[in-house]
Amino acid sequence: MSRLIKHHLFWPGFALVALVVLNTVVRPRFIEISVQHGALYGAPIDILRNSAPMMLVALGMTLVIATRGIDLSVGAVMAVSGAVALTIIDGSDSPGSVGTVLVAIAVGVGVSLILGVWNGFLVSVLKIQPIIATLVLMMAGRGVALLVTGGFITTVTSDPLKYVASGHLLGLPFALFIWVAAVVVVSLVERRTALGVLTEAVGINPEASRLAGVRATGIILGTYVLSGGLAGMAGIIYSSNIMAADANAAGELIELYAILAVVLGGTSLAGGKFSIAGTVIGVLIIQTLQSTILFLGVSSAQSPVFFAAVVVVVVLIQAPAVHRAARQFLQRRSTHVPDITRGTEVAR
């Protein structure tokens, strides 16, 4: 039991299960999944489907954070990718053909990869602080997206594009397959090769890992490129969902939610150890929470208050000061031993 509680996924998993149970108790229909036209429908399926953009972004963010970085530009990259892809589809003669859509997606994601290289270059080669290096693209990126769309919201009608976010494969949403595939591939590459360990080494101590022969520059650059590419794909899914490229609204605040998801999943912003499974749970917590808030009839505009409460509770659970206080409290209750740690506490 105590080993279970100590496991790094215990608290995130507990929070997710608690949310689902709470929803089911208040509203039994929450957990119902129905079959219509050979496809599954229901609140849990919606949550899995709607998670796709944030999941992709948070996946890239996990690795960036593991290297002690942060990528604020993901929302802007989403906007650029969506704008580029939809402008290509809008300008082509056959917006409905699969070929056009594939080319558009490839170009959109390709541009995002280049933007990722740009971020990675600033951080790993020029050694600019990640938060400010990615702030540049965060500010300029939406401007670029607006230029691409000419300041308008580009809308298209294209069935293959619509399929990306709204289509079904084997009865499940296609978007679910995209993020599961991304999570599986990244996990395999990170955990079945030495790359994951090297990434953590760079995050724990960049200088020591460099002296140990780790090519920190390349690894850091790579994580930003990955983050850019995944954000690009997220931008495509977002655009596919609304069938429009909205340079202002695409990925608005997603960087903050993604960072929140990573932190909820137990990856420290200080870098080093990361948990991809934790991030997946973190994103699902946020999506479930959003669906809960919506159900409670709270205006979605007011939902940030709930998120603030969640953030505070989660960071407090993780805070060393709270752990110490809790331990002391439990000790005092059980043994009534005078508190000898108090002295060191004051000295600190």
């Binding site: 942060i70 600033l122 020029l126 050694k127 600019i128 602080q129 938060i131 400010i132 290096a133 702030l135 540049v136 693209l137 965060m138 500010m139 300029a140 990126g141 939406r142 401007g143 670029v144 997206a145 607006l146 230029l147 300041g151 340079a247 903050l256 960072i259 929140l260 932190v263 912003l269 200080a270 205006s299 505009a301 007011q302 939902s303 940030p304 208050v305 709930f306 998120f307 603030a308 409460a309 953030v311 505070v312 960071v315 407090l316 805070a319 060393p320 000061a321 709270v322």
Partner: protein, 345 residues
């Protein structure tokens, strides 16, 4: 860090303009910490000259007076942010705090509460959110980014809880802040502008001449060293977030007066504009170096670019790209300065 070494003589202002000579080189070496700020000043002058040539009649008292008026809230936020960033922290909550205090004040005023109660309440509200962030950062070891993110969510959500729609302000005292014009020839100043300038003056004096201000630099330069020197690190780190929150409340007041209404969507993304302006003004995000006056220049650069772009009738998209590029230029300049300083050691 290399930046700490330059801090003690930081306040000395250059009296003689630097010429490209032997003198110039020693000057640059000796005043490396004010170089980014001077670079920002040079850029500001260049933009003003360029705009004057391009538009014919740009640099006139009316435009420049309006510049201060339009950016008063940004300036106030930038002063608070400078304190936080110099300690090595960051405060993402300022835009939301501004929106929350603004809409809260508008709501209270519309219910007939006196402005003598509302204005202190706004500032206290901002200070409270700042205090929450500061306590999380200092006593619970939460990273400033995450703690102030919680503050951002909290304040933004509360703003929507107060009202989803904009609320007009008809209180004469609040509107007086904006509608009054004190003319000095063709120049004019509004009470909001005076509040902003006073904030800058007080901020600059506190940073330079008080024990607290010097501790702020010391904490940013090296927290461990500051603690070993016996400085009040914990109190200082909490206090900078409270100051930033107070500035958020003050900015909420100024913005409410400026727009004549409270609006819960005000200031979305403003925190990034503020951080950009502070960085352009020469404050290092790593902490330990920076000036309130630099942030004033940063805000003026930001505001001038805004005005120039709206004069040109260009789209909002260019504004963002240009600000992004400016930001890039400044961080590269700062990076070069830091690298050169490290190499010299």
């Amino acid at each position: 860090m290399s930046t700490t070494a330059t801090t003690p003589d930081a306040g000395r202002k250059p009296v003689v303009p630097a010429r490209i000579s032997e003198f110039g080189r020693t000057f640059v070496a000796r005043h490396a910490s004010v170089m980014p700020m001077l670079a920002a000043l040079a850029i500001l002058v260049l933009i003003l000259i360029g705009a004057q040539i391009h538009f014919g009649d740009f640099v006139n008292p009316r435009t420049l007076s309006a510049l201060l008026l339009d950016n008063a809230y940004l300036l106030i936020l930038a002063v608070g942010m400078t304190f936080v960033i110099v300690t090595g922290g960051i405060d993402l909550s300022v835009g939301s705090v501004m929106a929350f205090t603004g809409i809260g004040a508008a709501q209270m005023l519309s219910h007939g509460v006196s402005s003598a109660i509302v204005i202190p309440a706004m500032i206290l509200g901002g200070a409270f959110i700042g205090l929450m962030i500061g306590v999380l950062v200092q006593y619970f070891d939460v990273q400033p980014f995450i703690a102030s993110l919680a503050g951002l969510f909290l304040a933004r959500g509360l703003a929507y809880v107060v009202s989803l729609k904009s609320i007009r302000v008809e209180n004469e005292h609040v509107l007086w802040l904006q509608s009054t014009r004190w003319w000095f020839g063709d120049w004019y100043l509004t009470p909001t502008g005076v509040i902003a300038l006073l904030t800058v003056v007080v901020g600059a004096l506190v940073m330079k001449y008080t024990r607290f201000g010097r501790t702020v630099y010391a904490v940013g330069g090296g927290e461990q060293s500051a603690r070993l020197m016996g400085l009040a690190v914990a109190r200082t780190k909490v206090l900078v977030y409270v100051i930033s929150g107070v500035c958020g409340g003050l900015a909420g007041l100024v913005l409410t007066a400026y727009s004549g209404a409270g609006y819960p969507r005000n200031g979305i993304g403003t925190e990034l504009d503020v951080i950009a302006a502070v960085v352009i003004g020469g404050t290092l995000l790593t902490g330990g170096a920076g000036y309130v006056v630099g942030s004033l220049i940063g805000v003026l650069v930001y505001g001038t670019i805004h005005t120039v772009i709206s004069y040109m009738g260009a789209e909002q998209s260019w504004m963002r790209i240009i600000i992004g590029l400016m930001l890039l230029m400044f961080i590269v300049v700062q990076r070069v300065i830091v690298v050169r300083a490290e190499r010299r050691r």
